[in-house]
Symmetry: C2
Subunit: 196 residues, 2 copies
C-alpha cells in the first residue's frame, strides 16, 4: 500500500495535486523492493524506466575495459535515476544500476510517464521542475570539473552530501569526483593535516 501523505513529501510536485491525480499517476508505477547489492538494471539493457528512490541508496556504474567498476552516479531518498542513453538517444544503457542498501524504488516506464503527464496538464509543472533541476545539477557539475581542483570538488561534495559519507565507500566518491581511490586517500590526508 502506498502512503499518500508520505509521497507528497517525497515528491514536492505532488503537493498541488488532488488525490485523484496522484492516484491516477501512481496507478502506472510499481514498487520494487531490493536488497543491498541487487543489480536492477544491467549494462546493455533497453528498459526505459525512471526510478524514484523512496527509501535507500542506489548507484550507477560501468565496468571498464580493465574490469574495474566505475561509479558515476549516486542517488538516495527523494531523488530519481534514469538512463539518458535509453530514453533520449535510443541506445542501450552503458551503466548498471545497483541498490547499495535495502531499497524501495517507485518504478515507471518513461514513455508511459510522458503520456500520463502530457495527458494531464496539472502534472506538467512537476515533470518540468524535475527535468530543469536535473539540468541545473548537471551543468553545475560540468562547471565544477572545469573550474575546481579535485580537492575543491571533494570539499564541495562532503559539504553538499554530508549524509552520504557514512553510507557509501570512499571509492565510489572518488569515482564520482573523477579520480582514483588512492588519489582521494591522499587528498583526505592532505586536508586532515592542513586542519590542525
Amino acid at each position: 500500500m502506498i502512503d499518500f501523505e508520505k509521497l507528497k513529501h517525497v515528491f514536492p510536485f505532488f503537493q498541488e495535486l488532488s488525490t485523484d491525480d496522484v492516484f491516477n499517476f501512481l496507478e502506472h508505477t510499481r514498487i520494487v523492493k531490493l536488497n543491498a547489492g541487487d543489480i536492477f538494471l544491467k549494462q546493455g539493457s533497453r528498459k526505459s524506466n525512471i526510478y524514484f528512490v523512496k527509501q535507500g541508496l542506489i548507484r550507477s556504474f560501468l565496468v571498464n575495459e580493465k574490469g574495474e567498476e566505475i561509479t558515476n552516479r549516486i542517488r538516495y531518498e527523494n531523488q530519481a535515476m534514469s538512463c539518458y542513453e535509453i530514453d533520449m538517444l535510443n541506445e542501450p544503457s552503458r551503466f548498471n544500476l545497483q541498490a547499495l542498501e535495502p531499497t524501495e524504488l517507485i518504478v515507471m516506464d518513461v514513455k508511459t510517464m510522458q503520456q500520463i503527464v502530457h495527458g494531464n496538464p496539472k502534472l506538467e509543472p512537476g515533470l518540468r521542475f524535475f527535468v530543469n533541476s536535473s539540468l541545473v545539477e548537471a551543468l553545475s557539475a560540468v562547471d565544477d570539473f572545469m573550474l575546481l581542483s579535485a580537492e575543491q570538488r571533494y570539499l564541495k561534495f562532503i559539504k553538499e552530501h554530508p549524509e552520504l559519507l557514512n553510507r557509501i565507500p570512499n571509492k565510489y566518491i572518488a569515482n564520482v569526483l573523477g579520480i582514483t581511490p588512492q588519489s582521494l586517500s591522499r587528498i583526505r590526508k592532505r586536508i586532515a593535516t592542513k586542519k590542525q
Copy 2:
C-alpha cells in the same frame, strides 16, 4: 525582417507549427546584432534571457581570482545559451557572455518564453526537446570528465566539433576541457607525434 523558412531550419521544433504560431512566438523575441568581442551579458547580471544563435559564435566565461578569463561554454549556429543561475536559482550570473564573431542572436526573456510556450500546447514539445537535449548533453559531459583522460576528451571534442577548430583559439578549448592552454599544447604535440 525575419526569414521564416530559414528559422524553421534553425529551430527544428518549428517544423510542425503554423505560420501564425511561429509569428506569435517570434513577436516576443528581438534580434540582436553583435560585433566580434562584444560582451552582451556581464557577470553579476540578472537579465534572464535565452539566446538563440542565428549566426555567429558566442562564449560564456568568468574572470577568476587571478584575473584570468576561463571559458566554460561555446555556442554557435542553431544552438542556445542561457544562464541557469539566473533562470533556475535566482542568482546573478557567474559568467559573461561574449560574441566571438559578428553574431546575430534571437533574444527572448525566459519568463515570457515560458508563458507563451505553456499558453500554447503546440509549442510545448519544442521546448521539451530543447531542455531534454541540453540535459543529455550536460550529463554526457559529466560522464566524460569522470571516465576520460584530458587527451581522450580533446580527441572527442575535435571529432564532435571539427568546425570549431578554426573558429576559436585553442585556449578556449583548453578551458572547456578543464585544462590549461599549455597542457593542451602538450597533448596536441603528443597526438601529432603518435600519428606518424
